[in-house]
């Protein structure tokens, strides 16, 4: 590849803290690379591991999971549940050949726009160094198919 690699990142944010931190970054006109695309959930506790697998399967090079700081969850303690799932999933993904560095956990309160922008930038840098994941391509190659749709691990995801 001659051009520098630009990773694609899906970020799952909590409605009460990190999504607002992203808004705060915007209101403060802080800059971060456009590689990060965000999805708003009501709470990091809503984060079904399936979403993360779906994102990797769909071509994301990294996934950002962010929620309220421990002890500051809008729903009291649900971010701890997200943390448990996150730890487990990272182990599982490693077994599928996805480097643990591709999954990032970030606690950011609604006031931490600066932190949010800084961490997003750092994550993009980290993934640029790591290179592309191309999970759909990997799966397709392994199965010897060209039609990616058949290789999409939709059933595996559900299992």
């Amino acid at each position: 590849m001659t051009q520098p690699f630009e990773p694609l990142i899906i970020g799952f944010t909590c409605n009460w803290c990190s999504y607002r931190a992203a808004d705060m970054a915007g209101m403060s006109r802080l800059k971060y690379p456009p590689n990060v695309r965000l999805i708003r959930l009501m709470c990091s506790g809503r984060l079904d591991p399936e979403f993360i697998v779906r994102a990797f399967a769909g071509g994301a090079d990294g996934v950002l999971v962010s929620g309220c700081h421990p002890g500051e969850c809008h729903y009291l303690e649900q971010n701890f549940k997200a943390l448990r799932r996150f730890m487990l999933l990272r182990l599982t993904l490693a077994q599928f050949g996805i480097e643990p560095q591709r999954l990032k956990l970030l606690w950011a309160s609604a006031a931490e726009g600066v932190r949010f922008a800084r961490e997003c930038t750092a994550f993009v840098e980290q993934l640029r160094a790591l290179g592309p994941l191309d999970w759909p391509g990997m799966v397709a190659e392994r199965n010897g198919h060209h039609a990616v749709s058949q290789a999409l691990p939709a059933e595996e995801v559900q299992a």
């Binding site: 694609l8 690379p33 779906r54 994102a55 500051e72 729903y75 649900q78 759909p136």
Partner: protein, 678 residues
């Protein structure tokens, strides 16, 4: 892409130049109309200000004329205008939840600089919105009744104002105050800037009104321990600490205070300069009038005998057996007005507070100036008799200093000028104010500043390096020397004075975080409570039904605190008058046929909304208790729980949409092929 194809309208906002300067909005609407036709887009428009009434009318007209079934608006954050566009969608005749607002301002145009990449990201964001909205379901808002009672936490001037406004309108108020009396910091002051009217004279009548008001239940020496429920229907648990004085019997005559043999330093109200008894009222005008017994210093509680107060009490009101009471109240709304703590000036060791006797902090000076204070209003040195002949006042102590608090405490310039005036008036001393910038930006404030300058107060612009008693030059012996840079003259100065006043800044209450957590709201990085919008909604918080007033939201002076207290009350009164309120229908529900009864979700809910029905061996969710976080939805291994508004199908569609285009806007091959919905 979808069998049940919807007719989607896409509306791209320029937001003046806020979006249009960084994102090619024309290209976005062209692209959405052409490339997303497959996904159901039948209309795509861009407009200068979608949130204007003309912009909203575009949406309404298209819904009616083009038969749209879904709407996607690409504009600012949903936290700003989601409601605006949902309401427009509703006016057009569609269910309001069939509209999605995707953010291309806060999360694209304001944070990215490369026009091509920002446009590419916007496209992906719009596609994800289109795919998500196709999975949206029409929803009905939940309406909840609003309980007419209001809880006001904190009895300072902001809380008092809020309580009186609501009580005067005829609705019940429960006011909870941690100290034995309401009044807050304002009760400690002598004069208030810029009019120099006496704080007690303007505050006491309001305190009495709160104490006497038939609609106010006043609980002092009490704290909120628990808050359950949600807007309109909170249940608050209050610990009313034992006063050891029976309020039914006590007449407030004060004989117990007079007879109590134990005198202790009053660190709270008198800022450590005066004394109080073990049974005490913090100040003569205290509301309520009932004293409290401080068990830590009471001889009876220490050694088991004394009881002087009980012996002399004419109404037998002293009750050593009294216990803390746990009270529970139903309220519809909550006002948090818990105020501030003064910055601890001893943290800045080079200023000598706590080490050099005649270095005072500003609250100590307020007490010295106060006619009802420990010196009856005489400004004297720590020995209690000597009047200072020269006084230095240091501004911005702990404020605008990156070692402590980087923010401006907003009131110190003005109160320092007020103290300069009072000290000069009472002692005739030479007064030197050391300031960084003079901030006098409210009505009549600058006139006050001019007036103080005309009185002959010396104003030195420069940061103070050190306050010391080590004399180096003749004339410095026995004095405190302030070493500072005078930036007007451009050199260091040493000013020997008798007394130094440190104008300490304001900081959040030491337990602000804990209290915020109890009420389910959040603090800024500095620890002040975050309002819903810094300009347009400075009294509400992100948590419905919880409002903030006064310094708890950030440093402010008395007029601003009063205004905010009244504003919070007005918002609450509006809701009480409505009697009910619509809530977002984001709730989890169990599809019973799919529930295997595994009970994995049962311990996921901190709100106790999930119960297992033994007879049917399935789980049920109580929609009134469910807060909509979605943790159980993610936990259910059978997919039996659906999260309204954030369903599996909606989020998966959103993920796929976001991944449709690469960073540079190129189509990613994966999504060129059809994807079965998970």
């Amino acid at each position: 892409m979808d069998s049940k194809k919807e007719r989607v309208g896409v509306y791209v906002c320029h937001c003046g130049s806020n979006i249009a300067a960084t994102v090619d909005v024309k290209e976005l609407s062209r692209w959405a109309g052409e490339e997303l036709a497959e996904a159901g887009v039948v209309v795509a428009r861009d407009y200068e200000f979608m949130c204007s009434s003309l912009g909203q009318e575009l949406i309404e007209a298209d819904i009616k004329e083009q038969g749209l079934t879904r709407v996607v608006v690409a504009a600012c954050s949903p936290h700003l205008h989601e409601n605006t566009f949902r309401t427009a969608t509703e006016r057009g005749g569609l269910n309001r939840y069939l509209c999605e607002l995707v953010s291309i301002r806060e999360q694209v145009s304001w944070v990215h600089t490369d026009r091509d990449l920002a446009t590419a990201k916007s496209k992906a964001v719009i596609q994800s919105g289109v795919q998500r909205v196709s999975e949206n379901e029409p929803l009905e808002a939940l309406t909840v009744p609003i309980h007419p009672a209001t809880l006001v936490v904190g009895g300072g001037i902001a809380g008092i104002q809020a309580a009186l406004e609501i009580a005067d309108a005829g609705f019940p108020v429960i006011m909870v105050e941690r100290e034995p009396s309401i009044g807050g910091h304002m009760a400690q002051f002598d004069k208030t800037f810029p009019t120099l009217d006496c704080a007690a004279c303007i505050l006491s009548p309001k305190m009495v009104s709160v104490g006497d008001h038939p609609n106010v239940t006043l609980l002092t020496w009490s704290e909120v321990e628990r808050v359950d429920g949600y807007v309109g229907n909170f249940t608050v648990t209050v610990r009313k600490r034992a006063r050891y004085v029976n309020e039914e019997l006590c007449t407030g005559c004060g004989i117990c205070v007079e007879k109590c043999p134990k005198r202790v330093v009053d660190d709270v109200f008198e800022a450590g300069l005066g004394y109080r008894k073990a049974v005490y009222r913090p100040f003569p005008q205290a509301v309520p009038k009932y004293p409290v017994i401080d068990t830590a210093s009471c001889i009876y509680f220490e050694r088991g005998k004394c009881k002087a107060c009980q012996m002399f009490c004419p109404t037998d009101a002293i009750d050593f057996e009294q216990q803390d009471e746990i009270l529970s109240f139903e309220v519809g709304n909550i006002v948090l007005a818990t105020g501030f703590d003064l910055f601890d000036a001893s943290r800045i060791s080079q200023f000598g507070y706590g080490r050099l006797a005649n270095v005072f902090d500003s609250l100590e000076l307020e007490r010295l100036c106060n006619a009802a204070g420990p010196t009856a209003g005489r400004v004297v040195l720590r020995d209690g008799v000597t009047e200072p002949k020269s006084v230095g006042i240091i501004h911005c102590v702990g404020s605008r200093d990156r070692n402590y608090n980087s923010y401006c405490s907003a009131v110190c310039c003005m109160y320092s000028l007020k103290l300069a005036h009072l000290v000069k008036e009472r002692t005739g001393a030479e007064v030197y104010n050391f300031y960084i910038d003079m901030r006098t930006n409210m009505k009549d404030y600058d006139e006050f500043y001019q007036h103080v300058m005309e009185e002959g107060v010396h104003l030195i612009r420069g940061r103070v390096a050190e306050v010391t008693d080590a004399a180096r030059m003749p004339g410095e012996e026995g004095k405190i020397i302030i070493q500072a840079e005078d930036t007007f003259v451009g050199r260091q100065r040493r000013v020997p004075v008798d007394m130094v006043i440190l104008s300490a800044g304001l900081q959040p209450r030491h337990d602000a975080k804990e209290v915020a957590h109890r009420f389910g709201i959040s603090c800024s990085a500095n620890g002040w409570y975050i309002e819903k919008h810094p300009k347009l909604d400075p009294v509400a918080t992100m948590t419905e039904g919880v409002f903030v007033a006064g310094c708890v939201q950030g440093p402010k002076d008395i007029p601003a605190s009063v205004a905010q207290g009244a504003a919070a009350a007005a918002r609450i009164l509006g809701r009480i008058q409505q009697g009910q309120m619509a809530l977002e229908p984001v709730r989890a529900t169990v599809i019973e046929e799919n529930c295997s009864g595994c009970r994995i979700c049962n311990d996921q809910c901190p709100f106790h909304a999930i119960t297992f029905i033994e007879e049917r061996k399935v789980t049920e969710i109580n929609p009134a208790l469910c807060q909509g976080c979605g943790t159980c939805v993610a936990a259910c291994p059978s997919g039996a729980i659906t999260g309204t508004g954030f369903s599996q199908a909606q989020i998966v569609a959103q993920i796929d949409g976001l991944l449709a285009l690469g960073v540079a806007g190129e189509r990613v091959r994966f999504l060129d092929t059809a994807v079965e919905s998970a």
